[in-house]
């Protein structure tokens, strides 16, 4: 299961996109899910190919790095107390991001399935609303699993 390390960080205040990414990458590394090069690769890739997206419901980011830095496949979620500015995929525009899903995946096919499930989730207003209010990690895992994000 992609949330079995419970990398679900809720309502922290982080002042920048870089610090938000660092927080998630450090958590993945501390849990032994990615190697020590993952963080640098993630930050570089985000600069080169930004992953912010202004979706119908809210601003999100979907950072990921190349599979060679991933030891065990895992997802991580960061819900920010205050939105931070990411750059948007496709046009580099500024996006105020409140939810960050980090993808530490190995198989392209799986990455694809996960992206698709996440995109559907972001269009589901009720589900996003619910995710923004849940405070228990297990409830969040259950909600996401019910939407194929697991």
């Amino acid at each position: 299961m992609l949330f079995d390390q419970k990398i679900i960080i809720l309502d922290e205040e982080l002042p920048s996109a870089t610090l938000a990414l660092t927080r998630l990458a450090d958590s993945l590394q501390a849990a032994g899910q990615v190697n020590d090069q993952f963080k640098a690769a993630l930050l570089t890739r985000e600069r080169q190919f930004p992953t912010g997206l202004q979706t119908k419901t809210l601003g999100v980011a979907l950072p990921h790095a190349a599979p060679e830095f991933v030891e065990h496949e895992q997802l991580g979620l960061l819900r920010l107390k205050r939105p931070v500015i990411f750059r948007q995929m496709g046009d580099n525009a500024e996006v105020a991001v409140q939810l960050v899903f980090i993808l530490a995946l190995k198989e392209p096919q799986q990455q694809l399935a996960m992206l698709q499930a996440l995109m559907q989730f972001f269009q589901n207003e009720a589900a996003v609303q619910k995710l923004m209010t849940l405070t228990d990690q297990n409830d969040i895992i259950t909600l996401l699993a019910s939407l194929g994000i697991k």
Partner: protein, 96 residues
């Protein structure tokens, strides 16, 4: 045969999602047999944008190419999709 190139950063993930959407649309219009859909990463195709009838990207392209490239982001997030489809049809000169 008309050609559409769809690119993203890696050539693997978001471009696949967008390609699937475009294929669905072309099929719904009954013109999928007139269009060849191709997929790749942006770095490989920066120099051959003009080689395709339509060029769709989910990642940032250099300023000088912006006019020739259609953003695939609306298809990714499911907003204003119709505008992207119409832009592709115009490039393919298959509209109306």
């Amino acid at each position: 045969m008309k050609t559409v190139m769809v690119v993203c950063g890696s050539g693997v993930a978001t471009s696949t999602l967008v390609t699937a959407k475009i294929r669905e649309f072309l099929t719904s219009q009954g013109i999928s047999d007139q269009v060849k859909l191709l997929q790749g990463n942006i770095a490989e195709h920066l120099n051959d944008v003009a080689a395709y009838d339509a060029f769709v990207s989910t990642t940032v392209v250099p300023e000088e190419l912006k006019d020739q490239v259609i953003s695939g982001i609306p298809l990714l997030i499911g907003m204003a999709e119709e505008e992207v489809y119409q832009a592709i049809l115009r490039k393919l000169a298959l509209s109306e």
